[in-house]
């Protein structure tokens, strides 16, 4: 079961349990609170098993984590070199064929996630499991989410694609630090900068967890489809970035017919992991093509579900 107090969970199926331990240390420029967990259905996309590949990172074992929360100091630009390695089509296409994606691209994605290969080789871990994770990261890398400058224009609840200030401020911060103009650049780098190591499996059987003390992402499937997985990456890293947990859902709070009364799965406002999850989903919807109806429908479902866990409004 691990140390649930130090974990954020993305549970598959039933709800989640556990609490998050507040960590001391320096405050980030944004909020610092506790952990989270959420509920998503399990991954439905199944890539064909295929060739091996691996992270070439040399810092898998050396986390470099000093225990203090100073997320801005974590920031690095992963996006530029990986985008060069993968060359995702513009406009982005919802495709990641195992035998068309180059080793260079897969290695770059795995290196950004600091994948622990031995961990993924254990138990149920297969190259297919790892491939799906890389496909999720590829989606995050390539899917257009608009320009940073346009974000402020979307801070309008009447707008179909409105996003809220906590997310906008965070993206603007990352973009300013790294000199980015695109939201996808900032979001990808926020995710990859937050994660110090990615391991397979989760201590609770949930589909993803974030362990604050080691900034470890535990991956056990992620989310529904590649967009769902990409948004799970955003969600989990948002926990890590902000050191913020969910709050208890109020009595009678149901989502998709499931009663989450008293469960630690809600967020008080749009500044939590669900807010980042929902905001990124809105921007992905905005960037998605009308020629991807199933895909759009999937993101809409994810967006609706994420929003349902936010108590504000």
């Amino acid at each position: 079961m691990g140390t649930p107090q130090a974990e954020s969970r993305l549970a598959a199926g039933e709800g989640l349990r556990g609490h998050i331990r507040l960590l001391g240390g320096l405050m980030s420029r944004r909020s610092i609170m506790a952990s989270a967990l959420l509920v998503l259905s399990s991954v439905s996309c199944a890539a064909e098993q295929g060739p091996s590949f691996g992270a070439r990172s040399d810092h898998v074992e050396d986390t470099g984590w000093d225990g203090f929360y100073d997320p801005v100091s974590w920031l690095r630009d992963y996006w530029t070199s990986t985008h060069d390695a993968c060359e995702p089509p513009e406009p982005f296409e919802y495709s990641f064929n195992e035998y068309e994606v180059s080793d260079r691209c897969k290695d770059a994605l795995a290196a950004d996630l600091k994948v622990d290969l031995v961990s993924f080789s254990r138990g149920a871990g297969t190259q297919g499991t790892l491939f799906n994770l890389l496909a999720d990261a590829y989606y995050l890398l390539g899917r257009d989410q608009g320009s940073v400058d346009d974000l402020a224009l979307l801070d309008d609840t009447l707008d179909l694609y409105h996003v809220r200030d906590p997310f906008i401020g965070q993206v603007e911060l990352v973009a300013a630090e790294l000199g980015h103009s695109e939201v996808r650049q900032a979001v990808y780098n926020l995710v990859m900068s937050t994660i110090l190591i990615t391991k397979s499996g989760s201590s609770s059987g949930s589909s993803a967890e974030f362990h604050f003390d080691t900034r470890t992402l535990r991956w056990n499937g992620g989310g529904t489809g590649w967009a769902g997985g990409a948004l799970t990456l955003v969600h989990e890293s948002a926990h890590g970035w902000q050191n913020r947990r969910h709050t208890r859902c109020p009595e009678g709070h149901t989502v998709d017919g499931t009663d989450y009364s008293g469960e630690w799965v809600c967020d008080e406002d749009w500044g939590g992991a669900w807010g980042f999850h929902a905001a990124s989903a809105r921007l992905m919807l905005k960037g998605a093509s009308v020629e991807e109806p199933d895909h759009v429908e999937n993101i809409q479902d994810i967006l609706e579900r994420a929003t349902a866990f936010i108590l504000e409004d």
């Binding site: 091996s52 691996g54 070439r56 080793d103 080789s121």
Partner: protein, 317 residues
């Protein structure tokens, strides 16, 4: 003339040799022997440095260098096993993949357990004891483990998968470089799929490796039909074909970090659940140059049947 002599000497000496035969290069039997239609060479006991130096182009973090001593000689298939060879000693019972195409193709879409089942079948055909106990999880899906008769895989006199150490020893063929020719990748060439990649020793990668789905100037070359033929390229100096590229080859070890210090007859098996990831070596027709290096390591679930997974057989002396 002096230059020529020096070159010749340099090519036959080996910096890791500290006694005759240590690298195995002096005791290859010379002529391959026939094993029920499968050609194998004998490789002597030896010592070598497994893994890659930190400055090797394309290196992965899971390849730290360490000394390995193989105390037993072994036979190694000169080629990746083909469908025809499987059919010969499995009495036509190739029931795990219906669309094999040309029987001359390298057998692919095989799990590690499929390969071990095939090794057992070959042992039976040769009158040797089986190395594995295989059970059928469900029709056509075997699961295998070392037979109880053997303390370690090296003890089994039957046919089996090579251990990861045996595989790398054979792939290197006495070379400590990335490739058996003695060549390393030049910087920035680890993903070079141009088809005309030269190593730092001047050798051409495409002369001895099928990789990157390269069509070799034939626009009509259907990779799915022809790139999987065995032994279409030059062998290494020990007579082994396709150690670099073509199909990835299952080996006997579970995938894990290497233990430190000199390892004697290593085999990563004990205490591991049967479904832990298994190592796969050599890269494939699909992979880029860095994945073809002798030290490059991969893994997958031993149940996985991917279109780039095949195997070659080994047998203890």
């Amino acid at each position: 003339m002096l230059w020529l002599i020096f070159t010749t000497l340099a090519c036959t000496s080996n910096p890791t040799d500290d006694s005759a035969g240590d690298t195995g290069s002096d005791c290859i039997s010379g002529e391959p022997s026939d094993h029920l239609g499968i050609e194998m060479v004998y490789i002597c006991p030896g010592r070598f440095t497994m893994g890659s130096p930190e400055d090797e182009v394309g290196r992965q973090v899971v390849e730290p260098q360490h000394e390995v001593r193989l105390t037993r000689g072994f036979y190694m298939g000169t080629q990746e096993v083909s469908w025809r060879q499987l059919e010969a000693f499995m009495d036509g019972e190739i029931n795990w993949y219906d669309d094999v195409g040309d029987l001359g193709h390298v057998a692919f879409r095989l799990s590690a357990f499929d390969a071990e089942l095939a090794a057992n079948a070959m042992s039976a055909a040769a009158g040797l004891p089986p190395c594995y106990t295989c059970t059928e999880l469900n029709p056509g899906n075997p699961e295998c483990a070392l037979a109880e008769a053997w303390n370690t895989l090296y003890d089994c006199p039957g046919y089996r998968l090579p251990t990861e150490a045996e595989w790398e020893f054979a792939s290197r063929a006495g070379s400590q470089a990335s490739f058996a020719t003695g060549g390393d990748l030049l910087p920035e060439s680890e993903y070079d799929c141009s088809g005309k990649l030269r190593l730092d020793d001047g050798s051409w990668l495409d002369h001895f490796a099928v990789y990157c789905n390269i069509m070799e100037g034939d626009d009509n070359w259907d990779s799915s039909e022809r790139l999987r033929m065995p032994a279409t390229k030059q062998p290494n100096t020990w007579g082994l074909y396709d150690m670099h590229g073509n199909v990835m080859e299952w080996v006997a070890d579970h995938f894990d970090t290497y233990e430190e210090g000199e390892l004697v007859d290593p085999w990563v098996k004990d205490d591991y659940p049967v479904d832990y990831g298994r190592s796969i070596r050599g890269g494939s027709w699909f992979n880029s140059p860095s994945k073809l290096r002798s030290a490059a390591r991969y893994w997958d679930s031993p149940y996985t049947r991917a279109p780039v997974y095949g195997f070659r057989l080994a047998r203890s002396d």
